[in-house]
């Protein structure tokens, strides 16, 4: 004779027609003799019927179109993010190249600001700014000459095109940010 604990699992398997003949006989015999299990079996059968009779729920009309629209939006956003990240890296690299000069310039500016008389140093400041501009120009020239000497002309051309493309992309991104992402849900 089976115990009630074993019978519970068999009831569940019986609902899925997954019992051997001997198991089915054992279950039937136990249920006939055990009112508690009989009640549970009837309740399980009732619940199982409720689920079996319930239909498959279809989505509202236009669902597939909304999925594809959302996919397109998400891909566009992803591309914008990737392009933005690439531009950020490029900008940071350029800033890093000019960083020593910027620091020097800031140090000079700080020195001037902390002087008691600003006017007396006006001429000096102008000269220093000119020096700075010359240094920045020199830095850019050095970068260009370094690139042209270390890379071949084809690579240099590629680099220039990349910079141009990234700039164009940046302009497009800034213009394209008018419309943000909105989840696409049917008005249910």
């Amino acid at each position: 004779m089976m115990n009630c604990r074993d019978v519970g699992l068999l009831m569940s398997l019986a609902l899925d027609q997954n019992l051997t003949q001997s198991e089915a006989r054992g279950l039937e015999e136990h249920i006939r003799q055990c009112p508690t299990c009989q009640e549970e079996w009837e309740a399980m059968q009732r619940i199982s019927r409720t689920f079996t009779d319930a239909p498959l729920m279809g989505p509202p009309p236009g669902f597939a179109d909304r999925v594809m629209q959302r996919l397109a939006q998400r891909q566009a956003r992803r591309q914008r993010l990737l392009a933005g990240a690439a531009l950020l890296v490029v900008c940071l690299s350029l800033v890093a190249l000019a960083l020593p000069e910027i620091v020097r310039w800031l140090a000079l500016l700080w020195q001037v600001i902390t002087e008691p008389s600003l006017l007396s140093h006006g001429a000096k400041l102008t000269a220093q700014l000119l020096d700075l501009a010359e240094s920045l120009g020199g830095a850019c020239w050095l970068i260009i000459t370094a690139l042209s000497s270390s890379l071949n002309q084809l690579a240099l051309l590629g680099y220039s095109l990349l910079v141009l493309a990234l700039t164009a992309l940046w302009i497009r991104l800034v213009a394209g940010r008018r419309v943000g992402y909105r989840p696409v849900v049917n008005g249910v």
Partner: protein, 194 residues
């Protein structure tokens, strides 16, 4: 099936029209799973859309030796389970006890109409923890075998059998407990009325 394989190959190559064909072919299955899991049409639509988007981004991980529907339903099922776990308040005020519709002592006017049937199913499913609910839905509405449910829910076949048994028992005991309570209440009233 051959057509489905072609759609998958084309979608893998970036053809969105092919992926749209897959969406159309499986939209009912995925939406039904989400609806039964979440019990709410608007949330089900959002979850079903998300499931398809996840499927698109993970399409490279699809093993062609497996049924595409099972793979897709596994993604949708995981997504819905995650959503349910994120819900702070599991029960809303309109979630009535499931046994209300199962009571054998139903009054004649309580004829079960279609909307009530949906409520009955929704309320029964709402009683189950998320992973029990997923197994029950995949079993009853999507005809997945124990093995397929095990793959979808990342567990074993015997664990699926056990989950289905526990879910059914939980629901059965819930209805029985309510019926017993009703009988005690009726008996007490009869004694009080002499």
């Amino acid at each position: 099936m051959e057509e489905e394989k072609v759609w998958i190959q084309r979608a893998l190559a970036g053809d969105q029209e092919a992926f749209a064909c897959l969406v159309k072919a499986y939209q009912t299955a995925v939406y039904n799973l989400a609806y039964r899991m979440l019990g709410n049409a608007a949330e089900a639509e959002d979850a079903a859309q998300e499931a398809f988007l996840k499927a698109y981004t993970r399409l490279k991980t699809y093993d062609s030796g497996r049924k595409f529907s099972s793979w897709l339903l596994a993604i949708a099922s995981h997504h819905c389970v995650d959503r349910l776990r994120q819900r702070r308040f599991a029960l809303s005020l309109d979630e009535l006890p499931p046994w209300r519709w199962l009571s054998s002592s139903r009054r004649p006017e309580e004829v079960v109409i279609r909307s009530q049937e949906r409520d009955e199913v929704r309320q029964l499913l709402a009683q189950l923890p998320p992973h029990y609910r997923a197994a029950v839905i995949l079993h009853y509405w999507h005809d997945l075998s124990y093995q397929e449910i095990a793959e979808a829910t990342e567990t074993t076949e015997s664990a699926v059998k056990s989950t289905l048994y526990r879910a059914r028992r939980m629901l059965a005991q819930g209805t029985q407990a309510h019926q017993n309570k009703q009988m005690v209440s009726l008996a007490q009233r009869a004694v009080a009325e002499g």
